[in-house]
């Protein structure tokens, strides 16, 4: 991240000066603090609101109910996961929290799931097995029902229908997830083999 940060600023500075936009870059830099403050207020407001709502969903057991529906699907994509194991329990909790948009609530069970899976596969010696890879891909694909931050930003920008993009988001994230899982399986000829040729 350090290199990316430095590179972006360097490119902006050099490009700006050589293309005659140096002045514009200077004023953009000065303005950026102000636009951050505006962005921050919007994002903070949305996060506070939805974290509150989703805390109720979690406390009332909605996440556990969702986890029950997820379990059979999980058999399909992570067949190596032992039935009734701790790993399976944590994976379900992680996925249902993700679906409800509880990003923060999803991480602790997600990390526990990883640890449980790593303990089952000590022999792999620092290499992930196919279940761990699948699980990581699941978490990078962001399947969620309520894209709260996006909707908050849209509504702050004056959108006439902030939530109208939700169906598109559901379809898109499912397609993206499917593509990711297919690549996982394709690069993994043996269902139980380890992934060391990537």
């Amino acid at each position: 991240m350090n290199y990316i940060f430095a590179a972006m600023l360097m490119i902006a500075a050099i490009w700006g000066i050589f293309s005659g936009n140096g002045e514009a870059v200077s004023s953009a830099m000065l303005q950026s603090g102000i636009s951050t403050a505006e962005l921050m207020l919007t994002v903070t407001g949305g996060m506070v609101l939805w974290s509150g709502i989703m805390a109720i969903a979690e406390k009332s057991g909605l996440t556990d109910i969702l986890a029950k529906f997820i379990r059979p699907l999980l058999r399909l994509i992570m067949p190596g996961l032992e039935k009734g194991s701790d790993a399976e329990k944590y994976v379900c909790m992680n996925i249902s929290a993700n679906i409800l948009g509880l990003g923060n609530a999803a991480t602790p069970p997600g990390l526990k799931a990883m640890r449980a899976m790593a303990e089952q596969h000590r022999h792999l010696n620092g290499r992930p097995d196919s279940e761990m890879v699948t699980f990581a891909v699941l978490n990078t694909a962001s399947v969620q029902l309520i894209p709260a931050t996006v909707m908050t930003l849209r509504s702050a920008a004056g959108s006439s229908d902030p939530g109208g993009i939700m169906p598109c988001i559901w379809i898109t994230s499912l397609c993206a997830l499917t593509a990711g899982l297919l690549v996982c399986k394709a690069l993994h000829p043996a269902a139980k083999g380890d992934c060391n040729h990537g």
Binding site: N104, G110, M114, V133, A136, T140, M151, A157, T172
Partner: protein, 169 residues
């Protein structure tokens, strides 16, 4: 349609909480406090990345990159304004937020670019960060085919985002 989903979700969650005898107001406050912590936590990164993003936009480099790749992304009917978002999304969540905000203020949230950018943002994750956190926590250094698979998912998401917006919106 989307706006009804919000009403139904919020009221449904609160009603379900009441049925399960959850102290809904107290729990809301607890959760909201946690949300505030997270939001405050991303402020430094958000400031740094907004600086980069606005400087890059003003310098004209983003435009030049857009012109360079225009033939490719036009084939997929992806609005060229969303190119910076596609590039930064897997690397930095705060950077992506800054880019998304920029697209909203220059094109409007209900424009095609605004809609496609919203779908891209909502259907993908900060891939590299997530992989680092999850594998880092168990000391796995070789991530094998995780990154190719996750990036394929991201790329698919970007293309399908443009497709769904063109078909459904």
């Amino acid at each position: 349609m989307g706006n009804y989903i919000v009403v139904l979700t919020v009221s449904g969650i609160i009603l379900f909480g009441m049925m399960k005898k959850v102290k809904v107001f107290d729990v809301f406050l607890e959760g909201a406090k946690e949300g505030l912590h997270t939001a405050v936590g991303i402020i430094p990164a958000l400031t740094a990345l907004t600086l980069c993003v606005s400087a890059l936009r003003a310098s004209g480099a983003v435009e030049a990159l857009g012109q360079l790749t225009a033939p490719f992304i036009e084939m997929a009917h992806i609005p060229p304004e969303t190119l910076p978002l596609m590039l930064i999304r897997p690397i930095s969540g705060s950077g992506a937020l800054a880019v998304l905000q920029g697209i909203f203020s220059s094109c409007g949230p209900d424009s095609t670019a605004g809609n496609v950018a919203s779908v891209m943002m909502g259907s993908t994750e900060t891939t590299f960060y997530t992989i680092t956190v999850y594998f880092g926590s168990v000391g796995v250094k070789k991530t094998g085919c995780t990154i190719p698979a996750a990036l394929t998912a991201d790329l698919t998401g970007m293309i399908i985002a443009a497709l769904t917006v063109n078909l459904l919106m």
